[in-house]
């Protein structure tokens, strides 16, 4: 039989727990941990605010850049071959009409106004008739 004194596990555990239990965090450490965490918290909020401000600036910058691109004359529009349109003369005459160009609605379609020329012949005839009547009246007046 072993006659050496033998400390039990329970006694040993109790002894160690009592020894360690006295080691509590000093109040100064408690305060410094509190303030360090508070500082960390405010740093976090500040970082968040800075990130939000940076995001706003970036969005604004993108919006301005977009607007500038739209209004810039150097926009990259696809180049189409330039079609040279030969404009027809403003007015020309046919045998019976004078054609006056009125409106161009499509490359191949032009609205024109046709002014018939026979009205002028009528007028000439009418004027000739009036002239002959005037002559006859004058001749009769002179004879009497």
């Amino acid at each position: 039989m072993n006659d050496k004194p033998h400390i039990t596990d329970d006694a040993l555990d109790g002894l160690l727990r009592s020894a360690v239990a006295a080691q509590t965090a000093p109040p100064s450490l408690r305060n410094s941990v509190r303030s360090a965490v508070a500082r960390e918290q405010s740093n976090g909020s500040r970082r968040l605010a800075v990130a939000a401000a940076a995001a706003c600036v970036a969005l604004g910058w993108i919006a301005i850049a977009d607007r500038y691109d739209q209004s810039a004359p150097t926009s990259v529009a696809p180049q189409t071959p330039e079609v040279v349109v030969v404009e027809p003369p403003t007015e020309f005459t046919t045998s019976n009409h004078i054609v006056v160009r009125h409106e161009r609605v499509a490359p191949n379609v032009t609205v024109v106004q046709l002014v018939p020329t026979y009205e002028s012949e009528k007028r000439v005839r009418r004027e000739a008739l009036a002239r002959s009547i005037r002559n006859r009246v004058a001749q009769r007046g002179g004879a009497s």
Binding site: L15, R17, V20, Q23, A25, L29, V33, A36
Partner: protein, 174 residues
């Protein structure tokens, strides 16, 4: 803010436990305070990674253990470049709270605990002083439960040998 209040309450609740473990690791009052603060700051920065508040103690002790391992690695790197400095640290023993004789006994127990090899010391502290189950001790230290059992048995054996006369004193007092 519910989350912040919750986390602050949690840190407050486990501050003593973390400090005790830091003291066991560093064996120095100032270094233990620094390690505790470092642990709490790391825990605060990673507070969203804590899923279960009931596991907070194990989580915090693991952070403390990792922080101390980082410190040891840094010290090891520095020691390669610097001359060894004269160590002058504060008395790691707790302040006297009871009778002189009783305090002597507690100091001897602490000295024996601190004299254990590193892993045995950590295991003994977590399993005995913090009353963590062996599985949780294994989780904190990142080792297997078998390794915890082995370290615990070896630590107890060594402490029993060193504290035989204390047991005699305890028995004569009864």
């Amino acid at each position: 803010m519910a989350e912040a209040g919750f986390s602050e309450r949690l840190l407050e609740l486990h501050l003593d436990g973390v400090y005790r473990y830091a003291f066991r690791l560093t064996q120095d009052a100032d270094a233990a305070a620094d390690l505790t603060q470092e642990t709490m700051l790391r825990a605060w920065r990673r507070r969203t990674s804590l899923r279960d508040a009931a596991a907070a103690k194990v989580w915090l002790l693991r952070i403390a253990d990792n922080a101390w391992n980082d410190t040891l690695r840094r010290k090891l790197r520095l020691r390669k470049h610097e001359e060894p400095a004269e160590q002058e640290s504060a008395d790691p023993r707790p302040p006297a709270t009871g009778g002189v004789e009783h305090q002597e006994t507690l100091n001897r127990a602490l000295a024996a605990l601190d004299a254990l090899p590193d892993r045995q010391r950590r295991v003994m502290h977590l399993a005995v002083c913090e009353s963590l189950p062996q599985a949780e001790v294994a989780e904190v230290l990142g080792i297997t439960t078998q390794a915890v059992k082995a370290s615990l048995a070896a630590g107890r054996k060594r402490l029993r040998e060193q504290l035989q006369d204390i047991d005699q004193q305890l028995q004569t007092k009864r």
